[in-house]
């Protein structure tokens, strides 16, 4: 009996020593890190531009405050941030896509502070303030550019074949037919990546807003359903027809984004639905000059206006951070005019700057859009609560497989949205 008591104690001690050793290994690190202030900055991979690391190092050299950049797997990003916010710890700054729907996911009422009093705010352009605001409060810093989502075309292919820039859906399909006849796949579309194909429908938003200024308000208060939006239905129907006619080639459901630069650089494809700095990216990767790539607005469902994002990735200070002062200090540091200018100079994929007084050279794509129209507005992705691009992408795949009709897609989107809204405790649902 006695012996077994000793043995219990012995085993427990062994386990304890073992765990203590581990504990020590863990706490040593935090002890050494405890002296300096470290700001934890959460972002999905590729959200942090290379030049920001340089700015952070300068900041750290000047103030002794270190920034711990944590780049998380993109598909886990929201989950990790939500859990950490719910635990009220482990975050000082986190990234968020601009616009109300993205910000709403992180419970702005509870987790974000108002930055309107900051010195850099007055330099922000209008769209950069709108995209970073929630319920009248400015909750994040936008150092990214806004971009147009439109159809980019290879202008040398167009001029070789004597094609005109389409103005409506009919002339658009005529261009596609001509490209097909010339042995060129009209459009590179990558439906395997669920986030993308929905832009064919999403870019219809602003014309609806022009028709009815309360369009977004009605969607967000559940007075209007996706199923009732005519141009959405038309766009999806036309998208289905385009796929049937082979405008996207054979491999639309296998194509992925990471092959898109090469696809457009190769000259095997005529067009792509994409953002306006994409030409610069092709140039830097494959050497085809960016001025070959020009743009026109999505001509589906009678649309003639431009569609933009709500801005890029925001830096949002977490309301519960113990180091809010240092966070604001960091923001002031990186928003000095020279640094913002250098930031834009060194980030080739950024385009129209979010701050006044910063010079940039507009791409051929943006200039060509300017020649067509200056009328532009934000799409539902940046405006409409609970809009879920990934589900829509999945449904569009189903449509291409013949398993869903455009009507069923919109109905399913409405049903999905209701569940999410109720889970978020929205009284309008």
């Amino acid at each position: 009996m006695k012996r077994s008591v000793f043995s219990i104690i012995g085993i427990c001690l062994a386990l304890l020593v073992c765990s203590a050793a581990v504990f020590a290994a863990g706490s040593q690190e935090s002890a050494s890190a405890g002296k300096e202030v470290v700001l934890t900055y959460l972002a999905a991979s590729n959200w942090i531009k290379d030049y920001e690391y340089i700015m952070a190092e300068e900041f750290s050299a000047e103030t002794g405050i270190r920034i711990d950049f944590q780049e998380l797997p993109p598909d886990q990003y929201e989950n990790v941030v939500k859990l950490k916010l719910s635990a009220r710890e482990g975050v000082d700054i986190f990234g968020s896509i601009s616009g109300v729907p993205a910000l709403q996911k992180f419970q702005p009422e509870k987790n974000m502070i108002d930055l309107s009093g900051e010195p850099w705010v007055e330099k922000l352009k209008g769209w950069a303030t709108v995209g970073a605001s929630y319920d009248g409060r400015l909750v994040g810093l936008n150092l990214w550019s806004v971009s147009n989502n439109a159809i980019m075309y290879n202008s040398s292919i167009f001029s070789d074949l004597g094609l005109q820039v389409p103005k409506d859906y009919d002339s658009f399909t005529a261009v596609c037919d001509a490209l097909l006849a010339a042995g060129i796949t009209p459009i590179y579309e990558f439906a395997k990546d669920l986030w993308h194909t929905q832009y064919w429908m999403e870019t219809m938003t602003y014309q609806e807003t022009l028709r009815d200024p309360d369009f977004i308000e009605k969607l967000n208060t559940n007075k209007l359903k996706y199923a009732d939006v005519g141009s959405f239905l038309t766009a999806l129907t036309q998208l289905r027809d385009m796929e049937k006619k082979g405008y996207f080639g054979e491999y639309i459901l296998s194509n992925t984004f990471d092959e898109s630069w090469e696809a457009m650089a190769s000259g095997k494809y005529g067009m792509i639905m994409i953002w306006d700095s994409f030409g610069t990216e092709i140039e830097s990767k494959f050497g085809v000059p960016q001025d070959v790539f020009k743009m026109f607005p999505n001509p589906m469902a009678g649309n003639t206006v431009r569609s933009t994002t709500a801005g890029g990735i925001l830096k949002v200070p977490y309301a519960g951070s113990d180091h809010l002062d240092e966070v604001l200090q960091y923001f002031r540091f990186i928003t000095s005019p020279e640094r913002v200018q250098a930031y834009y100079d060194n980030s080739s994929d950024l385009n129209v700057p979010s701050m006044a007084g910063i010079t940039y050279s507009p791409t051929a794509a943006v200039e060509s859009l300017n020649e067509i129209t200056r009328e532009e507005g934000i799409g539902i992705e940046g405006l409409c609560l609970y809009y879920d691009p990934m589900s829509l992408g999945k449904y569009i795949q189903s449509m291409f497989l013949g398993a869903m009709t455009p009507e069923q897609i919109l109905a399913a989107m409405d049903a999905d949205r209701a569940i999410t809204a109720r889970a978020a405790g929205d009284p309008n649902w």
Binding site: I11, K192, E250, S254, L401, A403, T420
Partner: protein
């Protein structure tokens, strides 16, 4: 009396403590959460009990979650059969004493079992690309260009790809268990069969397989469980596509979790647990009964 003195219960205590605290406790907690309205908008302190509401939503056909259950069963059935047939075939081939390089080959076949599944999925996504993908290139090379296709973009082919990759990943693992089982079969059984003039097929059916029943049991149970709990391969290979047609239970659990519908995700986890438990228990009971009957 005597037994518990020499095999004292407290030996179990450390394992039990860790297991209960860090695994059972959160699992039971998740069970409870499945009956609440927990979501990203609700603090965990102020949850409401909603009864079976979450289960109702899941079983509503329009949610498309039901098909993920049948998809999982389909994948689990195929992979269980293939892993075991291929694993056994490899084992039978690589257990022969005359086979010089067998140790190296065993090592090679076991290798995929230790690679991170997510990375395996990423590699095979590129292998199955329609143009310039390795698999289609090989088909063309062997003059079977007519069979090339966009493997991950057609539902049937995508299932095939998932099943193939999951089998690729695990067949070597099951091979190892079968080899172990084969090695303990007494040599005399084969010798006396030789004397009786039995052919190699007869030896396989009447000696090898019955003698292997214990390893077969273990292999069946483990491959069933890993098939029913398949996640990373589907997630990184097809991402449930095309059009959500290859979604499985765990990808749906993850999907609901990502949308901030925590309670729904937990409820789906509970359903999944029950399905796996029932299937595993039934198969286990069945195999045990067979094994018992054989031993008598």
């Amino acid at each position: 009396m005597k037994l518990s003195r020499y095999y004292p219960y407290w030996f179990v205590v450390p394992a039990l403590l860790i297991y209960v605290l860090f695994f059972i406790f959160p699992s039971v907690n998740g069970f409870y959460l499945a009956f609440t309205d927990w979501s990203m908008a609700r603090d965990i302190g102020s949850l409401k009990f909603v009864g079976l509401e979450n289960f109702r939503i899941i079983l509503d056909a329009s949610m498309g979650i039901r098909s993920s259950i049948t998809n999982t069963l389909y994948i689990a059935a195929w992979t269980t059969v293939l892993k075991n047939v291929i694993g056994l075939a490899l084992a039978v081939g690589l257990v022969r004493k005359s086979f010089r390089s067998k140790n190296m080959l065993r090592g090679v076949f076991f290798l995929p079992a230790i690679l991170p599944p997510l990375i395996i999925g990423i590699i095979f996504t590129s292998v199955f690309k329609p143009n310039n993908g390795l698999f289609n290139n090989i088909l063309v090379w062997f003059g079977m260009g007519a069979f090339t296709k966009a493997w991950l973009a057609e539902t049937a082919a995508a299932f095939g790809a998932i099943i193939a990759v999951e089998t690729w990943r695990q067949a070597g693992f099951h091979m190892a268990i079968y080899i172990a089982g084969l090695q303990v079969i007494p040599e005399e059984l084969y010798e006396s069969a030789d004397i009786d003039g039995a052919g190699s097929w007869q030896k396989l059916v009447f000696i090898t397989i019955p003698q292997l029943l214990p390893s077969l049991t273990v292999n069946l149970i483990l491959s069933l469980i890993s098939g029913l709990k398949i996640f990373e391969i589907v997630y990184s290979l097809t991402n449930s596509g095309p059009g959500g047609t290859t979604a499985v239970m765990l990808t749906e659990v993850f999907d609901q979790f990502s949308k901030g519908r925590y309670a729904l995700s937990s409820a789906l986890g509970v359903i999944m647990f029950m399905i796996v438990a029932v299937i595993v228990m039934v198969v286990y009971g069945f195999v045990q009964k067979k094994a018992g009957a054989h031993n008598e």
